[in-house]
Subunit: 688 residues, 2 copies
Amino acid sequence: MAPPRYIQLPEGLKPAGVPGSELLAYERSKASFDSKAMAEYIHGKDFLELQERLVNLLSNDPIFDKTSDHYYGRADKFRRAMLKDKRLAQLAAEHNWSQTENAMAEKLADLPGPMGLHKSMFLTTLYNQGSDEQRKVFYEPASKYQIIGCYAQTELGHGSNVQGIETTATWVEESQEWEIHSPTLTASKWWIGGLGRTADHAVVMAQLIIKNKSYGPHPFVVPIRDVKTREMLPGRTIGDIGPKAGYNTTDNGFMLFEHVRIPHFNLLARFSKVEPETGKYLPPPNAKLAYGTLTWVRANIVRDASTVLMRAVTVAIRYCAVRRQFADRDAPKFGQDGKPLETQVLDYTMVQIRLFPILAQAFAFHYTSRFMFELYEQNQANIESGDLSLLADTHASSSGLKSLTTLYASDAIEVCRKACGGHGYSMASGLPDFYANYLPNATWEGDSYMLSQQCTRYLFKTMRAIKSGRGKVDKNITTDYMIRYLDNKSEKASIQFSGDLYDPLFFMRAFGHRAAYLTEQTLALRDDLKRSWNSLLVELFRCSKAHSQYLLVRNFGMAILKDEKLNSQPALRQIVQKIFLLWACHTMEAESADFLASGYITGQQFHLLGSKVQEIMAELRPNAVALVDAFAVPDYLLNSALGRSDGNVYEALFDFALREPINSAKWNVDIEDLETTDFDSDLPRAKL
Amino acid sequence: MAPPRYIQLPEGLKPAGVPGSELLAYERSKASFDSKAMAEYIHGKDFLELQERLVNLLSNDPIFDKTSDHYYGRADKFRRAMLKDKRLAQLAAEHNWSQTENAMAEKLADLPGPMGLHKSMFLTTLYNQGSDEQRKVFYEPASKYQIIGCYAQTELGHGSNVQGIETTATWVEESQEWEIHSPTLTASKWWIGGLGRTADHAVVMAQLIIKNKSYGPHPFVVPIRDVKTREMLPGRTIGDIGPKAGYNTTDNGFMLFEHVRIPHFNLLARFSKVEPETGKYLPPPNAKLAYGTLTWVRANIVRDASTVLMRAVTVAIRYCAVRRQFADRDAPKFGQDGKPLETQVLDYTMVQIRLFPILAQAFAFHYTSRFMFELYEQNQANIESGDLSLLADTHASSSGLKSLTTLYASDAIEVCRKACGGHGYSMASGLPDFYANYLPNATWEGDSYMLSQQCTRYLFKTMRAIKSGRGKVDKNITTDYMIRYLDNKSEKASIQFSGDLYDPLFFMRAFGHRAAYLTEQTLALRDDLKRSWNSLLVELFRCSKAHSQYLLVRNFGMAILKDEKLNSQPALRQIVQKIFLLWACHTMEAESADFLASGYITGQQFHLLGSKVQEIMAELRPNAVALVDAFAVPDYLLNSALGRSDGNVYEALFDFALREPINSAKWNVDIEDLETTDFDSDLPRAKL
């Protein structure tokens, strides 16, 4: 529940000048398109309807009230998240929610809870990797919350390198059991969501060892707490790992095992199996097939990165339209009332150059996540019919894109926060928490710096294959641009006038040429100069980035050229085309060292890009607020005094301040008196 | 006090492989120089001795114990900071601390407290702007903590633009009083440190109005709370503004006035005065003289930025030397014991390229802050003798450098945090809090994006003056490089072999040429094409950045060439020279679009820079740990499980986890039961 207002304000005070609500209304009246039609084009009708329905449901339930979160300490944060997860489970059962509805409700409630990993990785693993019988014994009760689980892979000393984990599961022939053990301190499971205080079962990844031979990491189901008493079971040492930058509403945990025995049955055996009588290990059929799921997970991450940008830039653009600061040096100094006229912050080009490319990037990520889902479907269909030709390309691109988009999105939230000036620093802006909770995306599911190597490894392989004989290579997006490059190595940018930039194909060609050029250059260092892999990591990262940026340019460009839904709505097409142009010019300018150094563009052409960016920013300015309206991020999700759709920013900042609990007490400032801090307080005190 | 360990670990467990302490010892044994000698060269003996003395004092006083901070909620965080500020005040009195000792103790205690602004802005303003009598009435009791104050300038609707503040101080002729009033909601004072719950007096900046005429913002001393009862005085509405990304240990506050009367005496009148009998306003003599203090404040900010980099990169480099992950693709796959050999993360070039330039930047900022203090001294001496010629140049450079260094330093903390992988996200790393508390530096004392305009405005003025007649311009650093450029506009980089890069003068010339080139180009847009100021903000920012980078290159380069202390110690000189080379090449590569587009360097030369960066990183690698040792950041200040000088990272992470208070309770996961969350807890509960 919202805390009371501890202080009364003098009556009748209003913000100076034009109210925020009027400023936003004025902004909206200037739009050259219908923001509702744009929202439908971006998200689809179903999404918008569902979102509205769930916002109504959640925002009227006191358990999902967000007003108090920022005042809590860790224990209360965790309490609230536990309640929220329980209530979500009740609602899901009550309304028989689909996966889409569940995911949307989670996103809107926006509080990573102790059962998050139960609902995702625990259930998914039990289902996908469990035999039919294991599904019955583990998956079914878990899906009804009769057991609560977590997914225990990462260890204190081992993150991205799964092969290096130390926890062992040793086959005990006599009793036909597994013995789970942590041989060292660094073998402790660590970071495991829901493990700290909540889960009673864990899927534990451990090195499977039979007769002193290791078969690598496999998943085991291990009971860890008594389902009724919630006491730790013998041989387990479990706890919460302590506070983090974000995610303090989740009990990320650690776990050590001392020779814990579990039945043979508890090795998840849909793929690999061990014969209980003989102890014989039966390996899985095709390990590469798991890449399909990975691609799906990463397509989701890219889509999330797009919605992250939408949310952050909505806050910043709305607030910068309401906030006024300084008069333009060229503007008249005083208005009719004799007071200085201050400029909307959004009119400053230095603010635009930070925010508009983020707005445009949201579109770019959107089109590429759509493309990845299509590619995933196509790939799955191919696999069904035994065709694995798309697998490697899809997997490599998804690695590169995951790396690029998560790094970009986390940085972008901070850029938006800083563009809000001082008030961006207040928790009332909604951005500090949002940033802190989004950050792990750049690390989990493959650290973004590590992961890029997988992409470049594939680029190398492909480039080598093409060079050694084109007939044998599969035709796909990557081979297409590489072959094009190899046939036109000395290609130069053809643009001469700024109007030449209106051709999306120019950017697609340019970014394809650059990606292939960097790959060829770096490959030569590896193959010809025999440079070590490690000495090339910086260049490898650059290749993966160039490839991923090519995909973003290509998918966005293709939408401009071929998306029928877009092209049938002139008002939408016109603005999206501008957004593409801004984004493509800005990205090319940001990466211009590559294009300049290779001689692909000249200094003259470089300056054309910068001027075009300025020109398009001015054209986009009147549509900025309508564009973020079209992102359709509900106020309930924004949870931001600065980004609210009604523009009543200053009233909301005051409301936030008046409810701060430390305002309910008087404090003792007498420096001689170290005993008393607050005179008259019933504020909670930590017992530490 | 440190909370207890709530969970017992199994006995005798150790981290796998070589212990962190041995790895760091091995790293230290490889150094090519004495890190103690380097520490003395960087900081000086006095600094190091004082630091050691104060670390001993504070780290043994339970009030300055830092182990519990991360578990607290807002109220407890504030309580602890209040205690800390009181104890610091006691110690300062007891030991009769100098300003240096006070500042060092504050820095080491590292907890922005409710009396921070009392000690800085409140006391400084009373002293600098108060008449002799006002010093007696206000400054003296304040310096003894008999009254506690804050500095109330920023308003809800007005940050960087001080001229735009709305609070009024109107002269009441009849009673010879000032009436302080907040006409609107946005006029509310906001963000004021120490105002929320602590201060009983405020220096309030308000528009001074006499007979309907406004004379702009002036400082007034306003009593706001009863010194004894701590109750708000009539006509004031005061409170804390609520939680923020960082600084939650400080009560940043808001304040509204309803026609509050204060005596004539309370306008701080060292410079501007008002005659009480006539109401006649007497303006200050020379407003520009205030620039001196500003320069001093900013020199401090640049020095702080340097120490911020030192602290962050110490954590990251030590941890990356202890952390091992994956084997190099070219390395042998297995060691003698049959286990895979994992590489120290610091050996990965992708990690080096993120951390080593930060290490180098710390040196660059260090030399420039030293230069700024010298310039400040020289400038003050000049002013004493009536020579104002250095004032404008010093002020402009300090604006540009404040802007550049604070933006860079806040980004760098995040880069270091991310380089620590998953564990960087834990509060135990010390980096999330450090980042959150440092952030305001990019906003306060002039928003870094706004401030850059002041620098470029001066660059324009100087360039115009030189072009219209050189004889009349003062000789200084800026005119020097501009004249050099105007005489050699078509200059090109002379480097041909990678060895040519060893000349610091090459970089100094190159960055000077670029700064002047950008200024000339941008000035032409303004003066010849008559572009509006606002449409040029992006270019203006770029000019300020280029000028500031030139200063950094120059000051670092001059140290290599001329610093006798350095040049007399060959082991130190040799390594610092490498650091300069890495930093200069890396910075030039990062900014290469400018150099390439202007034709100053070719694509070939561009590639020389990148190769040299890789080469020097490999040479610096064995010295990396010794270099951060030389930064001499005490463990007590680092407060980081990852950065500790003994390398016992994993034990420290466990210690942090075991003390997490939510580990003291059992939690109810029954989804039907929304009433009970924790079964058996005496954890504090928020009353909201």
